[in-house]
């Protein structure tokens, strides 16, 4: 099951998104601010991140940059900011997609599906390296040593 991390400080939006994603067989975790989001990304890398830019503790773009420092996970940015300058900034900082609020649920789900497909392609792009002593799994960022 694809694991989606939803980061937004608006509880009602989080609730709606979670209900919808779960109804479509996505696994969903949510975070209400940037720090907890980064924590989750570290502990349990998601397949797709849905990130709202207006977070209470840090700017969404900073969160995005920090995610990008260690991961190529597809990130969909959600924001009420509709200026193209904001879109350019987010996309250049590493977002894969930008959805402006308010948005229709159909469109949102389609974009999540697209992002998940990208994840799979990336994952397959790098084959794992297998040696007698250890296996390097790039898709999951794991190095396993036979013991």
């Amino acid at each position: 099951m694809t694991f989606v991390l939803v980061v937004d400080d608006e509880p009602s939006i989080v609730r709606t998104l979670t209900i919808n994603l779960r109804a479509r067989d996505f696994e969903v975790e949510s975070a209400g601010d940037g720090r907890s989001a980064l924590q989750i990304v570290e502990e349990r890398p998601p397949d797709v991140v849905v990130l709202d830019l207006g977070l209470p503790d840090m700017d969404g773009v900073d969160v995005l940059r920090q995610i990008r420092a260690t991961s190529v996970v597809p990130v969909i940015v959600l924001s009420a900011r509709q200026d193209s300058d904001d879109k350019v900034e987010a996309l250049d900082a590493g977002a894969d997609d930008y959805v402006t609020k308010p948005f229709g649920m159909d469109e949102f789900l389609a974009r999540v599906r697209a992002a998940a497909r990208r994840k799979e392609t990336t994952a397959e792009a790098i084959p794992s390296v297998q040696t007698p002593d250890f296996v390097l799994d790039f898709a999951n960022y794991r190095a396993t040593r036979d013991e």
Binding site: L55, K101, P102, D106
Partner: protein, 834 residues
């Protein structure tokens, strides 16, 4: 109070129908609903005119006693008390009977205009000050009652009432103008066709000039305004004698031809103090110049023609008006008069020589010597006494010297005389010396014959040398004086430029320097908004007050409405040029300051625009967020491929409702804020119980309501507030408190009362707010603390305070003991007196 509007009906002659026109206009306005009152209307016994007054409200005239007879005059106070929209004042040129408040009726009219009352008035062309002489020459009658030109010029509308001379004569013949019995010979003389035509032409031309002026002004406003130097500037040179009045009027006429002419009257005062003018006639001419719309300048100078030319050049004059010389023809042959000298030196300035009654009748004093009487006197004394004394001396010591030394001694004397007294005394001295030499020192002595031809030649050479040395010395002395003056001038200009480059307060520095340079008592830059407005001082140096402006010795205009005024001694014509330099500098400083102010205004405007753009972005975000929640939930529910479980469905519907409520609250706050800022909040004050109010607010919170605890005595008295507004205030404060109370912490609503006020407290135990920011949190569009930059607008507290104040209360923030923020609403008790 805005000044009233003035409309004047201008007529060319009595009987053309000005009063009837005025009354007709009054009737029209009454029909339109305007409040019109007749101040005073002269019917001159004409039945038709009297009939026109019917139907208009008249202010009764005031009877004023004078010399045993009672005269009806305009009752100015009654009209002012009545305060109509429009007042009719007939015959503007009328002189009021002594005992009235103002001397002239046009001064009465000005009082009405100042009080904001519109005035419709009438005046005949022959009453205009500047046309007085012309009218007299046309009609043969000296017009005693006059109106200053600028009173009529300042009218907002001038309407010409015109009638052909034939029609006018017919009217008079039928007795419509004056009763038939009064039409005597003198009057018929006045109404000759030639007269009437000339007067009519005068009226038409005068009005045409006004129209042209207005058009020119309009063109200037719409397009590029013409630079200063292209206006006609007319300098009238007055010598203080009675013909000055004629010159002033003529010059005013020339100035008013073609739009925007400027009149400068200048009186050349000669520094030796010998006066051919008397102070009262100068004062009268000064007053006349002001009435004609010009300015009066006093300038000192010994060479009158040169002083006039220097002044004219200094002010960039385009024309000079002089009187034809008084001197007889013989005198003019001997030495050029002032007029001829001015014409000779005028260059590209036109010179008008105006003839007047006193031309070529009286003897004028000869033009002054460039050197000055005092010096000339000393020179003549030296020239006569010197040779005599020297002769005595040399005769007494005859044994010790010869002819060469004698000659050189006399030569030295002549040179000294030239230095002291100028050319003429020196020449006389040379002649006297040569005669003395001949008689006393050339052999044979004591005779005028000369033996030795060499001595004769030497004597002749002596004479020539003495004469040429005298003139050379004289010339060089004059040149030196000019050089010194030029050097002084350039030094002053250099000082001016240097001091202005560095100075902080440039205008006061400039004025200080002007005071020093010209030895003035006080200097100032003054401005007025229009010809009638009073002067205001922009900057001043020394003891200057506004009364000095009228009688100031130097007034240099910077532009239409601003002038540099120097009050103190009269200055020479050549120094006038320097004054222009100061004036130009001052105007440069003023325009630089104006530009700086504009630049500053532009930057703050840009800053405001930036703030506004940021605000709009923030507001749009805050409005879009709940909308996004609604849309997301609604579009989820509408998806056809999924059946939602009842819990999910309930959750989403709840989201929709929550978001809608949030949106509603946001919009409400925005509207309240805008209402507060435009001052359109209306309050409906009632007497309320705190319990009811709190119960309603807590209920409105819904689920969150359990976090709110009310804690106040039950017997709190009734207080006065608007229930709806208070509800909003509490809602905002509670929302704020709940947001800042961590977790599920409680928020307390407390209440307490004093003798006349009640305090309602909303207490949270959150982070609190530092003292420095306690006022700032109430500023609109600020969210203190955890807002990400640029996100969201904090309106809640600003609206709460605004609404509280609209209810005659106050909202302040205090620290909660133990940590947190307490908001205190202070409202009046119902029992307290309002």
């Amino acid at each position: 109070m805005a000044r009233g509007l003035l409309r004047i009906y201008l007529g060319a002659a009595p009987g053309v129908g000005k009063t009837v026109a005025m009354l007709g206009e009054a009737h029209r306005r009454v029909e339109r609903g305007t409040d019109v009152v007749v101040g005073i209307c002269e019917t001159h016994g004409r039945a038709y005119t009297a009939a026109q007054i019917e139907g208009l409200e008249t202010v009764p005239l005031k009877e004023i006693e004078y010399r045993g007879t009672s005269f009806p005059e305009l009752d100015l106070d009654a009209v002012l008390a009545r305060a109509p929209q429009v007042a009719l004042i007939d015959e503007l040129a009328h002189t009021n009977v002594p005992g009235s408040r103002n001397a002239k009726r046009w001064e009465d009219m000005n009082e009405l205009l100042d009080a904001g009352i519109d005035v419709i008035s009438t005046v005949n062309i022959q009453h205009l000050e500047s046309l007085n002489d012309v009218v007299e020459s046309i009609t043969g009658v000296k017009q005693r009652e006059t109106v200053p030109d600028d009173v009529v010029r300042a009218a907002d509308q001038i309407e010409l009432v015109d009638m052909t001379p034939e029609a006018l004569r017919r009217r008079m013949a039928h007795g419509h103008i004056y009763p038939a019995g009064n039409v005597d010979a003198a009057l018929s003389n006045y109404f000759r066709p030639g007269n009437l035509s000339a007067l009519r032409e005068l009226a038409l031309l005068w009005l045409a000039d006004r129209v042209d002026e207005a058009l020119e002004r309009y063109r200037q406003d719409q397009g590029i305004s013409a630079p200063w130097p292209t206006r006609e500037r007319i300098v009238v040179a007055l010598n203080g004698r009675p013909e000055g009045e004629t010159l002033l009027r003529r010059a005013a006429q020339i100035a008013s031809r073609g739009a925007g002419g400027e009149l400068l009257a200048t009186h050349i005062a000669q520094s030796d103090g010998l006066v051919g003018s008397d102070p009262t006639s100068i004062a009268a001419q000064r007053k006349l110049a002001a009435e004609l719309g010009g300015t009066f300048h006093s300038v000192s100078g010994d060479d009158v023609a040169q002083a006039i030319l220097d002044f004219a050049r200094g002010v960039n004059a385009t024309q000079i008006v002089l009187g034809v010389s008084r001197r007889g023809r013989l005198q003019s042959l001997l030495a050029p008069g002032v007029g001829e000298a001015v014409v000779a030196g005028s260059g590209d300035i036109d010179v008008h020589l105006v003839t007047h009654d006193y031309a070529r009748k009286g003897l004028n004093k000869a033009p002054r010597n460039a050197v000055g009487m005092k010096r000339a006197a000393v020179g003549w004394v030296t020239a006569t006494a010197g040779p005599a004394l020297l002769t005595l001396l040399l005769v007494a010591t005859r044994q010790h010297h010869d002819l060469p030394l004698d000659m050189l001694a006399f030569l030295a004397l002549t040179v000294g005389c030239a230095l002291v007294g100028g050319l003429l005394p020196a020449l006389f001295c040379a002649l006297a010396s040569s005669l003395a030499l001949n008689y006393y020192f050339t052999p044979p002595i004591h005779t005028f014959t000369i033996e030795d031809p060499q001595n004769a030649a030497a004597l002749i050479v002596f004479l020539l040398v003495a004469a040429s040395v005298a003139s050379a010395v004289h010339l060089s002395a004059r040149r030196e004086a000019q050089a010194v003056a030029a050097q002084r001038e350039s030094r002053i200009l250099l000082q001016l430029a240097q001091s202005l480059l560095g100075a902080e307060d440039q205008l006061p520095t400039l004025l200080d320097q002007a005071r020093d340079t010209f030895s003035m008592r006080a200097a100032a830059i003054v401005r007025r908004d229009s010809v009638h407005a009073p002067w205001t001082i922009l900057a001043s140096s020394g003891p200057f007050d506004l009364n000095d402006v009228r009688g100031a010795s130097v007034r240099a205009p910077l532009d239409d409405m601003t002038e540099l005024v120097l009050s103190g001694p009269v200055i020479g014509a050549d120094e006038r040029r320097l004054v222009s330099a100061f004036a130009t500098h001052a105007s440069a400083i003023l325009s630089r300051e104006a530009l700086a102010r504009e630049a500053h205004a532009a930057t703050s405007l840009a800053k405001d625009n930036r703030t506004r753009t940021a605000l709009l972005a923030a507001v749009s975000h805050d409005l879009r967020t709940p909308l996004a929640g609604i849309k997301a939930a609604v579009s989820s529910l509408r998806q056809s491929d999924i059946t939602w479980s009842p819990t999910d469905e309930a959750d989403m519907l709840e989201s929709i409702e929550e978001s809608a409520d949030r949106l509603n609250a946001m919009v409400g706050n925005l509207l309240d804020m805008s209402r507060l800022q435009t001052g359109t909040v209306s309050t409906h004050v009632q007497e309320l119980h705190l319990q009811d109010v709190v119960a309603a607010s807590v209920a409105a919170l819904g689920d969150q309501g359990i976090r709110v605890r009310a804690w106040f005595p039950e017997d709190l008295p009734l207080f006065r507030a608007d229930a709806g507004l208070l509800d909003r205030v509490l809602a905002n404060l509670l929302e704020n408190a709940l947001k800042h109370s961590p977790g599920r912490q409680e928020v307390v609503i407390g209440g307490s009362g004093t003798r006349s006020r009640i305090q309602i407290r909303v207490v949270d135990r959150g982070m609190g707010v530092p003292d420095a920011l306690k006022d700032q949190i109430f500023a609109p569009f600020q969210r203190f603390g955890d807002a990400p930059r640029g996100e969201g607008v904090g309106l809640g507290l600003a609206v709460a305070r605004g609404l509280t104040e609209a209810m005659d209360g106050t909202l302040t923030a205090e620290d909660t003991p133990g940590g947190g923020l307490t908001m205190v609403i202070d409202l009046p008790l119902a029992s307290a007196l309002p």
